[in-house]
Symmetry: C2
Subunit: 259 residues, 2 copies
């Protein structure tokens, strides 16, 4: 079995999280896995197509209860939803705005509230807002399918879901990477120009993920510098730091303690 | 804390394993992370510069003892060393061939032997041989440094270390991905042509990792089809399979049991 040697970064969200190791994109999860190697394990808990209503019971199962002393600590938790919740009613993915807000807040409070059985005082939460929808690109993608599908998301609706995430961040005192505004500003506030950052009007391309990665790293550095990767020592020593005459002296390390 | 929801694939080795999520390469670890998303977590236990002598005590700490019922199961374990063990004596990385063989065998037996306190009957071990060294490319890289360095690895020596891994595979009855022979054959058995697969005469480039990934997947499919990614169900359902009228019914799943 895999022993607990490293704490983790847990990425929780929908397909934009699940797909963050996709070949050819140099996407968010892959980049984090690379720079955090030997420091923190990066865990993919992205669920394509999920909204927050389906995400909540899954979230509950993905984080350990406070009495589970054997589980690795989540040093950093990203929560990234909204792209599916904002689907047009009556899509089964649609979740009303207020309910979405409640769900995201529940996730945050589940780890942040001292009253929660999942309370995790060392877990730094970072919320991400959904990317803006390029309805031109999205419609073209949906119309190209067999049979052709109608537009399922609106630009202005997703914007509201993004704003709500921003509000929760302020109310709960947790950092937010405002992907919506980042990409909107980067595209010169022109919907059609969002195709520079999106594959299909909804999912990020490599450039989009790069923008998000850079902002996430900047947020970690500014808000939680103690877990910025350069500030974490590797669990096992760099090879040049091993005591070559008596290697076991430097290679038996204290295992991470999550008590 | 991160709850145990998925079993794992553990990749154990040196820099060629550690670097397998590097941006721009579409490398082995990243590709496995992508295709195994929602099925198995892929854990990076690569240690740049390490030989098997330093790897052994670390390995012991990365795998859990059989009585540790809380740890996730390692469904698949890759062990990939030799590139550093084969360094020219008296490099601190050099490990004599027989000792290298003992060390790799010890790692295999640690999980495969019923007498071992790390015995893990469900762990499928796959050994990988070190890639062939392109001494032209390697020397050019070392000479370009400041100060310039002498050649540290020989083509024929690494070949011997690769052969030994192949032998252990046969003796212990575990699958081997013979990276050495794969890349040697692919380059037309011409040392200089290995630059199609290597960055610096030692580490794999994107094409090299692709060849290894394809062969590893073929090995999993042929030898251990039950853990080939397409044959594993996701832990949590695809969104179209959720019972939309009563989502919790399908979303509370049995957690992985490692007893």
């Amino acid at each position: 079995m895999a022993a607990k040697v490293q704490d983790v970064i847990l990425l929780f969200g929908d397909s934009i999280t699940q797909g963050a190791w996709e070949p050819g994109l140099n996407a968010l999860g892959q980049r984090l896995s690379h720079v955090y190697a030997r420091r923190l394990d990066v865990v993919n808990r992205g669920f394509s197509g999920y909204n927050t209503e389906w995400g909540l019971p899954v979230f509950e199962q993905c984080i350990a209860k406070r009495e589970d002393k054997g589980a690795p600590r989540i040093q950093l938790l990203t929560i990234w939803f909204g792209a599916n919740d904002a689907c047009i009613h009556p899509s089964p993915q649609h979740i009303p705005l207020e309910r979405f807000k409640d769900n995201i807040r529940k996730m945050v409070q589940m780890v942040k509230s001292p009253d929660s059985e999942y309370y995790s005082p060392w877990t730094r939460v970072i919320l991400l807002t959904p990317p803006p929808v390029n309805t031109h690109q999205r419609l073209a993608d949906l119309q190209s399918r067999n049979p052709p599908l109608a537009l399922d998301r609106l630009f202005d609706t997703t914007k509201l879901y993004a704003q709500v995430v921003q509000e929760i961040g302020e109310q709960e005192g947790v950092a937010v990477v405002d992907v919506w505004t980042l990409l909107w500003d980067a595209s010169g506030r022109d919907e059609a120009s969002l195709n520079q950052y999106l594959i299909d009007g909804l999912h990020l391309n490599g450039v989009g993920y790069e923008v998000v990665y850079n902002q996430l790293m900047e947020t970690i550095r500014a808000r939680h510098p103690e877990v910025y990767y350069e500030n974490l020592r590797p669990i096992f020593p760099w090879w040049a730091d091993i005591n070559w005459d008596n290697p076991n002296e430097s290679l038996y390390v204290q295992k991470v303690d999550s008590n």
